[in-house]
């Protein structure tokens, strides 16, 4: 509808000044007379000048943009993180790109290429952990980045912010054991993921400390789909597997488990105690209160943003960021 967009040059012509002067005036830089600056700003407003961020970014090399690469924003866990990241970033005048990988390695590669291609200033990524090449490419490329929620323990040169998964796994398991559950089922996530590995370590430590044996057949890996958990829990019940406490990799798996148990007529926490992880309770309410391990997503997200901002603003800094945010137990109705 409108005509061409107003450019710096247009303003310059009208003001009888050079484009550079206009630019400096609008950006509040040095070497400008107060009156001139005032005049230019008014003129800009009058002519409806908006500025072309692309051109500026091309020249300055900065886009004021951060890419957030996660497996799935529709997953409440990531949804909350993305929200917090966006909030933090906006405070610093940054906008975020969001790209889903569905934890697929090729999609992750594509996501990284896209982000770099769009010249984002930094990347916050929850890696699929199906390999290290993608992240190594990031490293080689030189874009500031930080891993969130998952880490490559064997490669600490990849900066990360995670929660204390080991402690979380330990606390949850210990709580169940302390409540009298000698056999605790662990419905774990994909073991390739560091958080699954570390929560398992915590699970083992709790057993060790209590002098209890770990029954390997009570450690089960469940897939991402909802049906998967339901199927597995059903099978376990029908096989009459022995356990009374259940520690789930996340709250969604915990809820599904509780659902199946209910279907079989079992009560929670009387027959089975269930504890989850993520503590997304407060956001997505459900009709019974799940005990969970709280990993402060807000804090993680904020730190992730702070870290990449630091890297953007101090490119020469060699500082390493290996941050582990504390986790703690939140006991509710599903355990007693």
């Amino acid at each position: 509808m409108e005509g061409r967009k107003v450019t710096l040059k247009d303003l310059a012509t009208r003001a009888g000044l050079s484009a550079n002067t206009i630019s400096r005036a609008l950006k509040d830089k040095e070497d400008i007379a107060v009156a001139t600056r005032q005049m230019i700003k008014e003129l800009a407003k009058e002519m409806g000048y908006v500025g072309n961020a692309l051109a500026g970014s091309l020249r300055s090399g900065l886009t004021k943009t951060i890419a957030v690469i996660v497996s799935d924003v529709a997953n409440p866990h990531f949804g909350i993180m993305v929200k917090e990241i966006e909030k933090s970033a906006r405070k610093h005048n940054y906008t975020i790109f969001i790209i889903n990988t569905e934890d697929d390695y090729e999609m992750e590669e594509l996501a990284i290429y896209t982000a770099i291609g769009k010249n984002v200033d930094a990347i916050i990524i929850c890696p699929s952990q199906r390999g290290t090449d993608n992240i190594r490419f990031l490293q080689k490329n030189g874009v500031p980045f930080v891993l969130i929620g998952r880490r490559f323990k064997e490669e600490p040169e990849f900066d990360y912010v995670i929660c204390d998964d080991e402690k979380g796994g330990y606390l949850a398991t210990k709580h169940l054991i302390d409540s009298g559950h000698k056999r605790v089922l662990f419905l774990n996530g994909p073991i390739r993921i560091s958080s699954a590995q570390e929560r398992l370590e915590g699970y083992r430590r709790a057993h060790e400390e209590a002098g209890l044996p770990v029954h390997e057949d009570l450690i089960v890996e469940v897939g991402a789909s909802a049906g998967d958990t339901r199927l597995i829990v059903k099978q376990l019940i029908e096989q009459e597997a022995q356990f009374t406490g259940i520690f789930a990799f996340n709250d969604v798996i915990a809820w599904e488990t509780a659902y199946v148990l209910n279907k079989y007529g079992y009560r929670i926490p009387e027959d089975y105690a269930v504890i989850g992880f993520d503590n997304i309770q407060s956001r997505i309410f459900i009709p019974f209160q799940l005990s969970s391990v709280s990993n402060s997503k807000g804090k993680m997200s904020k730190r992730a943003v702070d870290i990449v901002l630091h890297k953007i603003n101090h490119p020469e800094s060699e500082q390493k960021f290996n941050e582990i945010i504390d986790t703690k137990l939140v006991l509710r109705e599903s355990t007693k």
Copy 2:
């Protein structure tokens, strides 16, 4: 760590060709020998060429970027939409910006300015509906855009994709009435929002059709926060308000309601029948199966993307998009 990013020029030097040829080869344009194209593509991969979208965009005037402006990605309803939008957009090589408004009018304005400043090719927005100026500004500015999930009924010149809220409200209410519930509580969302208005219309129509009076005191507006719903439902129960069927504006409100009812010892659906809206059941599992109205978020999202793509690719087209996606009832355990 690494030096500069690899540019077209770098590739050109290595290949002994011109930058333009490289560009054409990579973009699969004409006037390139098959062997050359092959060679260039391999070289590009080998050298880790990513391309600089900024430069290309500056020249072509297109950024291959769509801004998605919603109130809150952490809300599963929007999370799912954002996911679907991203998926659809990616298929067409578009990347999405995501900006949250928290349904605040000034944040919405800021979001729009940000999007335009970043030269997005189009905007998909779920408007806060606290005013029309923001959207009018979009219109005046000429950026292709489409409203999603909410519309300004009095201003059909603003293109939109919504679900059939009126029908959804009608179906849900009718089902409850048909099941014998003469007094149906409607826990509605903020009435400034078109979807709340239209679901209410459906609620009224169902009553009318059944020859039942609408009890205005059974139409209650609940706020966005979780505590709000709980408080209101508690009050209603303690006031001994008369109703047996409950239609909730969305599934989250429905779950919360069910939770409170359970606390008071009521059973669902024996004592109260509860029906929600959104049908996010399949994604976020909960331990009882909620009846709901299904609005296909996937379809809405896909259409929204298609519409803005059409507008991008046919700037001269005057076509109007006022699309209403069908809703349907999904009956589960919370109603009988």
